[in-house]
């Protein structure tokens, strides 16, 4: 460890640590930021979902977008893997299929940044039941 000899040193160190802690800070209020869920069941992983997840993790951070990326189980759209679900604050979640790196980039640039829909949307074709009475 090197010594911290000035306030500037300390601020630098804080910035280094911030992104690591970001994951926890953001989690305190996930409703206010972009939530990306990547379907990572066997078929998803086989179709490259891991690379998509890494891409989102890295790019949201690099493009300064406050968001959380989590993995989830099979969404049922095995024909359209990798699939992801994106939830913008205060909106219904939207599911995108056939997400490759190019489409992932479009989703970030268009849908997440401006709200403009892009190709690959899978319409809602199911109803989730609420397990709470």
């Amino acid at each position: 460890m090197s010594k911290i000899t000035s306030l500037a040193d300390l601020k630098k160190k804080r910035e280094e640590m911030k992104s690591g802690l970001d994951l926890r800070t953001k989690a305190l209020d996930p409703e206010s930021i972009v939530q990306v869920k990547v379907s990572m069941a066997t078929c998803g992983i086989a179709s490259g979902a891991k690379a998509i997840m890494d891409f989102f993790l890295e790019q949201l951070d690099r493009r300064n977008i406050a968001g959380v990326v989590t993995q989830t189980g099979c969404m049922g759209y095995c024909y359209a893997e990798p699939t992801i679900e994106v939830k913008l604050p205060g909106q219904d979640p939207v599911v995108f299929g056939f997400v490759d790196l190019k489409r992932a980039d479009q989703i970030i640039e268009k849908y997440i940044k401006t709200g403009e829909l892009v190709d690959g949307i899978i319409p809602v074709n199911y109803q989730s039941i609420d397990l709470k009475e």
């Binding site: 911290i4 000899t5 009475e133």
Partner: protein, 597 residues
């Protein structure tokens, strides 16, 4: 950027630690490694989350899932279901006792809704053994700001303006204390952190030190700068091994970074901290006794003045503050006096940490703005009384405080209101009592504690408390007389007026307030020789109800002292002179024929 996409926070406070949280951490790490996920999922041991009732706690970030009562063998399930498949483990979620629904994240739990965490801001959030995480949460920024941008006077003014009052019990304004110490002449001064938390039921200071030790170190350095001291001492009881261990790690890391030591931030300010261990004497929480103990002398208080600010440790000017007081200081410096003084009541600013204990559903550690009512704390955050029993009272301020009752439930909690109600803030322990607690036995319990902890230096405390304890014992045994109640009261007042230090001056408080608030219960003990709560054994008698007794002889056979007579198919009777009140007969009887009167 961080390579981890998920954090698993596991509580490493003493409570959860005792409930095998280390084994949980081990199992989680093993399981992650076995599945090749140790590069993407990080397991972090944090300080106390506060919800000790349902510990051990595991929190999953970023989806903020709050798992309760996790066992080491659940680790595999959490990894397999939650981490890999993204499905929450419903069995381990918190179940709201009111709605019967499972609540997945802490934001929606009644326990956390009303809390505001300033002193506990990093507890349960960062790894207390990693200084980098503290720095990532703006740690040491306040010290940097103070050293590079503020004069000593400005710092003291900021703390004075914030209106913060000492969290150790007395409620003396922190800024004023610092000002007096700063104005004391002398080149050698000391900053002392009082971590001698001794009240029964209190664990606020321990949890802060275990969960966020750097906040205390940083604040001590800030205090050192403003009063002109370059030495800090933390007086901590040896019974807090985990807190000591984390403090040692924290001090080591701060020294390595140069945040403690010579020329901090390249300025000419130097400050270092060492630990002093106490042997766990309650009286050593009193600042003069604490200082004597640190000097290697007997832990006995001395008359003030001189105050420690004039002549303290080794006769040098010394400023003593409590752990929680220090823990809030960095936040006050960074966010400003105005922000801090906007929280709380007119004369008590900011927030207060309370340890909830006793007959309450959510035993744990909470922090609320001053002015929150007892009702909110006990019934909303605390989840009400255990087993649906009736609330009877709450002892605040430990053995120095008093017992508040139902009529005080809507009193906003602050220093002055509690004193007006006949109790005190103390360090913040709240022991909740229900209908089964006897107020005479309770007063006797607290006095037993003070009798044992009295240092014996002054007569009123040494002899007076002993006599009070004896009188209460006689009342519990049914040998009390009506005039004893007056004797209790008079003696209490004398002890309060004539004792040397805070211990004796406050030790009769529980008796006085309980006699005041539960006079009928005391009268029942001395006049009717009855204990309404059914706690005082000598005042109970087991009686056979002849209508229900079928003469099965089961009770007579189980009685260890042969106090029960009566033949087969005859109504039995219990000889009260022989009976030792063990209750075995009542437990054995299948016909509900034995009752307590």
């Amino acid at each position: 950027m961080s390579k981890y996409s998920m954090h698993l926070l596991v509580c490493g406070g003493t409570g959860c630690h005792a409930a095998e949280s280390d084994a949980i951490i081990c199992n989680l790490r093993d399981e992650l490694e076995a599945r090749g996920l140790n590069e993407t999922v990080q397991v972090i041991k944090t300080g106390c989350f506060g919800f000790c009732e349902k510990g051990p706690i595991v929190k999953v970030m970023p989806d903020n899932t709050f798992y309760t009562q996790v066992k080491p063998e659940d680790a595999q399930l959490i990894i397999a279901e939650h981490v890999i498949k993204g499905r929450k483990v419903t069995r381990l979620l918190y179940h709201d006792p009111k709605t019967k629904e499972s609540v997945s994240d802490s934001k929606h739990m009644d326990f956390y809704k009303k809390q505001m965490r300033i002193a506990l801001r990093n507890c349960g959030f960062i790894n207390p053994e990693n200084i980098d995480e503290y720095i990532g949460r703006d740690g040491y920024q306040a010290l940097g700001k103070v050293l590079t941008e503020m004069t000593r006077e400005q710092v003291i003014k900021e703390i004075k303006d914030s209106g913060q009052r000492g969290r150790g019990g007395g409620g003396f304004p922190t800024g004023l204390k610092w000002e007096i110490a700063s104005k004391s002449p002398g080149n050698e001064k000391y900053v002392v952190c009082n971590a001698d938390e001794g009240d029964p039921g209190a664990f606020m200071d321990r949890s802060v030190l275990e969960g966020d030790p750097h906040s205390v170190l940083e604040a001590m350095a800030i205090c050192g700068y403003s009063i002109g001291a370059s030495n800090g001492l933390i007086y901590i009881r040896a019974e807090y091994p985990l807190a000591i261990q984390r403090l040692k790690i924290a001090i080591g890391q701060a020294r390595e970074y140069g945040l403690l030591g010579k020329n901090i931030f390249g300025t000419d300010f130097s400050f270092d901290i060492e630990l002093k261990y106490g042997a766990g004497a309650f009286v050593c929480g009193e600042e003069t006794a604490l200082i004597h103990s640190m000097e290697g002398l007997r832990g006995e208080p001395t008359i003030k003045p001189p105050f420690p600010a004039e002549a303290g440790y080794l006769g040098k000017p010394t400023n003593v503050n409590n752990v929680e007081t220090f823990a809030s200081i960095p936040a006050i410096i960074l966010k400003g006096a105005k922000w801090y003084s906007s929280i709380g009541t007119e004369k008590s600013k900011g927030t207060k940490v309370f340890a909830l204990a006793g007959k309450i559903n959510n035993v744990g550690l909470i922090e609320v703005p001053m002015g929150t009512t007892l009702r909110e704390v006990i019934f909303e955050i605390g989840g009400g009384i255990k087993n649906g029993k009736k609330f009877k009272g709450v002892q605040t301020g430990g053995p120095s405080g008093g017992c508040l009752t139902e009529k005080h439930l809507d009193t906003p909690i602050d220093f002055d209101n509690l004193i007006a109600a006949g109790s005190m803030m103390g360090s913040g322990a709240m022991i909740v009592l229900d209908e089964d607690d006897c107020m005479v036995s309770m007063a006797r319990f607290f006095l037993e504690f003070t009798v044992e902890e009295s240092c014996g230096k002054c007569a009123p405390c040494r002899i007076g408390n002993k006599r009070l304890h004896e009188l209460l014992g006689q009342i519990c045994e049914g040998k009390g007389k009506l005039e004893d109640l007056d004797r209790l009261k008079n003696m209490s007042l004398v002890i309060k007026d004539t004792s040397l230090c805070g211990l004796g001056q406050t030790s009769p408080n529980p008796v006085l307030s309980m006699m005041e608030n539960f006079r009928e219960e005391y009268l029942a003990h001395v006049v009717d020789k009855k204990c309404p709560a059914g706690k005082c054994k000598s005042l109970m008698s087991y009686i056979v109800n002849p209508e229900n007794c079928v003469g099965c002889t089961a009770c007579a056979r189980v009685c260890p002292v042969n106090a029960i007579t009566g033949g087969r198919k005859e109504v039995h009777s219990i000889n009260g002179d022989i009976c030792i009140k063990c209750g075995a007969c009542m437990e054995k009887c299948k016909f509900d024929a034995i009752y307590i009167s």
